[in-house]
Amino acid sequence: MSRAACAIALVLSLIPAAAVAERCVEDDAGATVCLDAPAERIVALSPGAAELLFAAGAGDRVVAAVSHADYPPEAEALPRVGSYDRLDMEAILAQRPDLVVGWISGNPTNQLERLDALDVPLYRSEPRDLPDIPATLERLGRLAGTAEEAASAAADFRAELDELAATYADREPVRVFYQIWAEPVMTVNDEQIISASIRVCGGENVFGDLERLTPRLDREAVLAADPEAIVSGGMGEADDSWLDAWRRYESLQAVQAGNLFFVPPSTLQRPTPRVLTGTAELCRKLEQARR
């Protein structure tokens, strides 16, 4: 049997369940998204959305994504519909999507509103905390008719997250400075999802109380905060050059103790199941800082 036939058989097998269950979910903007049938032509408007859809078992229903949707590897082969901050509306419509997964803070508001006006079913996504990730998986799975796979992925995520939290959250606190950008120096406050990972690992974001989600800092502020560990992403998945700039400040506790850590940015900065990989790595690094 070909893959297409398999897919059709799978869809047919789900129809009785679909007829009973209401295929409605609430999205992160508080709107109710309802579909008559499981979505079969899904367009992902952010790299994170593509990743969440694949994790929810709906990967073979994703027909297009924005540029930089690079995980899992299958997502790289998808047709592109522009970049997340400038969508090609024609290319989206040409895919005849029966579900579009948008990104509230990343996609242009006017373009999402236009999709609404054109009656394209739109799920607006914005996971702000770690528990939002499995919840999103479940909702996307429901819309795509892959609720079972999504539920098991969500359960795995919750179990793994609980385990990490049980191991590390109550350990001796480590004061952490997380750097998301080098010029200007930028960090995150406690509202940002990276801080949730830091908390799970028993860390404490030294700039957590700042008002803005991604505050810009001068170096003095970092010297004054004197973190016990500095963690950074970088321009690429293996580029730890941002950390070198801190080494000359020998007064920093983090420098004295050698607690300058690199965690690949895509594993910690994207609100997708892979965040657990990054979080686990962060936890191990902070544990190293405790010694």
């Binding site: 522009g82 901050d85 509306m89 024609e90 290319a91 419509l93 040409a94 006017n110």
Partner: protein, 323 residues
């Protein structure tokens, strides 16, 4: 009047051709037969949506915005008797930008962003008007200076908002500042404003021609200079406000299209103003087609293209006119 007709007919044909190209070309190829089917009220639903919901409104908005900016630029150049004047020289786009970016920072929807831009543009107009009016004598120089300083003030506020804005909103804000027809919603207001402006300005063409030579001569020849100047200022400001509200602050069209037309057609406002409406509209419509398709599915801001198309064309005309 008869000599006005041929150039306008050529420009009207160019504008219509530009519209046809804009409706026919996009990142999704649609064969001519399918386009014809849509034009005659049939066709596939997908093609109908692409042509009628996306391309046609955007093309008409580009035509209207380009026309508005070119007409507003031509009026400002007459008013200030300064070849460097453009619709934004008196700080109007700055006021609109402050309004729009503030609305974006507050996370408001697209309709409110447009409303805030319009309010900001009007606020800037009233501010410059009031400050330049002040006490004592009024001159275009004083108006220009007031406008330029107010514009700097808006510029500082824009930079401040970009600096404190959330990182994820920066691309949207920058695209708005560069001008982007993806923000265009309904083209009808802009088209109506353009029609009213051209219909209203052409009968005043003779007076504008005299004013362009200087206020003293105009006063001697019986033109009511002060009311005419304020009228031009208010009209040009409103036109620019509508344009900026529709598509962000698109540069270049308002500065250069009137000059290009003067180089080719001479400086008769009765001809220049309607010609600017058509030529500005055609230029921006074509520029937007390129912005949508050059590196599709990635999209460029249209301001990049207007300058890339317009700069060589203008330099060529300027060079030719000297020889």
């Amino acid at each position: 009047m008869r000599r006005l007709v041929p150039p306008l007919a050529v420009l009207a044909a160019a504008a219509i051709a530009a519209l046809a190209v804009a409706v026919g070309i996009g990142s999704v190829p649609i064969p001519p037969a399918a386009l014809w089917a849509v034009a005659t009220g049939g066709g596939e639903p997908l093609h109908q949506t692409l042509v009628l919901e996306l391309r046609a409104p955007r093309a008409l908005a580009a035509l209207a915005v380009g026309g508005l900016l070119a007409v507003a630029g031509a009026l400002m150049q007459v008013l200030l008797r300064n070849p460097l004047a453009d619709p934004y020289v008196l700080g109007l786009s700055g006021g609109a930008a402050v309004g729009a970016l503030a609305a974006m920072l507050l996370g408001l929807g697209a309709a409110l962003v447009s409303g805030a831009a319009f309010a900001g543009a009007l606020l800037s107009t009233v501010l410059v008007f009031g400050l330049a009016h002040g006490t004592g004598s009024w001159t275009p120089t004083r108006l220009l200076l007031t406008g330029v300083v107010v514009a700097s003030g808006w510029g500082a506020l824009v930079t401040f908002m970009l600096a404190v804005g959330p990182t994820r909103q920066l691309p949207g804000m920058l695209y708005w500042l560069m001008g982007d027809l993806a923000y265009a919603r309904s083209p009808w207001w802009a088209l109506a404003a353009l029609g009213v402006a051209v219909a209203g300005a052409v009968p005043l063409g003779r007076s504008l021609n005299i004013l362009a030579r200087g206020p003293l001569q105009a006063a001697v020849l019986g033109v009511a200079v002060r009311p005419l100047e304020w009228g031009i200022y208010v009209a040009a400001s409103l036109l620019t406000a509508v344009a900026v509200t529709t598509a962000g602050s698109i540069g270049f069209v308002g500065l250069v299209v009137p000059h290009m037309l003067r180089l080719v057609l001479g400086n008769d406002q009765r001809l220049i103003l309607p010609a600017a409406a058509l030529a500005g509209g055609a230029l921006l419509t074509l520029a937007d087609v390129l912005a949508r398709t050059l590196i599709a599915p990635e999209q460029l801001p249209v301001g990049v293209i207007t300058a890339m198309l317009g700069v060589p064309l203008f330099l060529y005309l300027l060079h030719r006119s000297r020889g």
